[in-house]
Symmetry: C2
Subunit: 234 residues, 2 copies
């Protein structure tokens, strides 16, 4: 019996989306939702603002009607250390954006670790793609946010999974500036008011860490107000 149009409509391919709960990952999820059923993955690696990020994750997942959601624990990131972003590390500094320097908020091979978990889940779900809201151009200069890294990881995922597993690693924001990301989010109706970007605080965004500064610049550049509350603004 041929499938009815309704059945075809419901059988959308699945995309796993790494959703921290921040601006970029929210927009990446909204982009993925255009053609995929969403499987949203949040990883708790004991980042300082995990409680607030998780709240954003669930709120965004509700709003985007995610077909699947998964919250996983990865305590080893904080145990290994090496980053100011996680519990037990040095304090999060104010933004500096020193050229050519990897900032202290870099978490060693974080995107590799998150992607590896995503690949395992994607294989079980028979998903077709993994979406990551990584940004290379207008970013903090993390080595695991560059397109060549994602291309190499896609290759590793292809070689390290079952023959029938075919996963694209999609980075729709990689070459965009923050203002363009804000604009794209608004155009898609992404719930930007539900997102959380601050590296430092859980109640009011600090407004001075590099993540707050990048975000605020994005809204200013896009000519719209940032809908979330700040303690101070840059």
């Amino acid at each position: 019996m041929p499938s009815s149009p309704a059945a075809v409509e419901t059988a959308r391919p699945i995309a796993v989306v790494l959703l921290s709960g921040g601006l970029d990952s929210c927009v990446a999820a909204a982009i993925a939702a255009q053609e995929h059923a969403l499987a949203l993955l949040h990883v708790n690696y004991r980042q300082r603002t995990e409680a607030r990020e998780l709240q954003s994750f669930h709120a965004i997942a509700d709003r985007l009607h995610a077909a699947h959601r998964l919250v996983v624990e990865l305590p080893s990131v904080a145990e290994v250390g090496g980053s100011s972003l996680v519990e037990g590390g040095p304090a999060v500094p104010a933004a500096s954006f020193a050229v050519g320097e990897v900032p202290s908020t870099y978490v060693p091979f974080r995107n590799g670790q998150l992607l590896a978990i995503a690949v395992g889940w994607a294989e079980v779900l028979a998903a077709r793609a993994i979406f990551v809201g990584a940004v290379e151009q207008d970013s903090s200069g993390y080595p695991d946010c560059r397109r060549p890294f994602f291309d190499a990881f896609e290759q590793a995922a292809d070689l390290g999974t079952r023959p029938e597993t075919r996963l694209r690693v999609v980075t729709p924001l990689i070459d965009l500036g923050k203002p363009q990301i804000v604009q794209q989010g608004l155009a898609l109706g992404a719930p930007l008011e539900l997102t959380w970007s601050c590296y430092q605080d859980n109640e009011l965004a600090c407004g001075v860490c590099e993540s707050c500064l990048l975000r605020l610049r994005g809204f200013v550049g896009a000519g719209v107000p940032d809908p979330i509350p700040y303690r101070r603004r840059g």
Copy 2:
């Protein structure tokens, strides 16, 4: 002041070794120990025999005088499912070795997930290499145990870490048969009597799962008795 010979001797490069506690990873650790200070990594992904594997991990780490050891939790593997090897999955089957088939004990992208954690730790330790006791030739046919996968992952690790981080992913057993692995372990004085390979049981090795059968064949082929106790043999 130039370094004394003793100081040079103690400044050996660090290698992270994925050490489950099984035969292959124990031999890989013994090989790594020839030229490196050992940083031994064990991941608890709720495999059925974790309690027994962890006991082997610590016994081997003691014997090899590991400079660093780390045990991490990765509960998402069992939460995601898709494998008979983890808690909550279907039962571990007796060995079949059907040609061209990925067995139910395959854990989706396990080596990708373990390697990603290893890369993060290796970066913090400024290690030079990651050793993995993966075996391609005489194995269960897992897609993430093939050399092209490890080559691709090495490339991803290089691109996704700090510029000064240079990690080789070393798979010294990848082309060996089990008898050769046993012989190499014996030649290096690796503590094979401390290892655990069974997928099923924690007290006496079952002797019928694929891992037990591969191991037993290895000792038979090497012409030496397997020093661990079995409930039955093949």
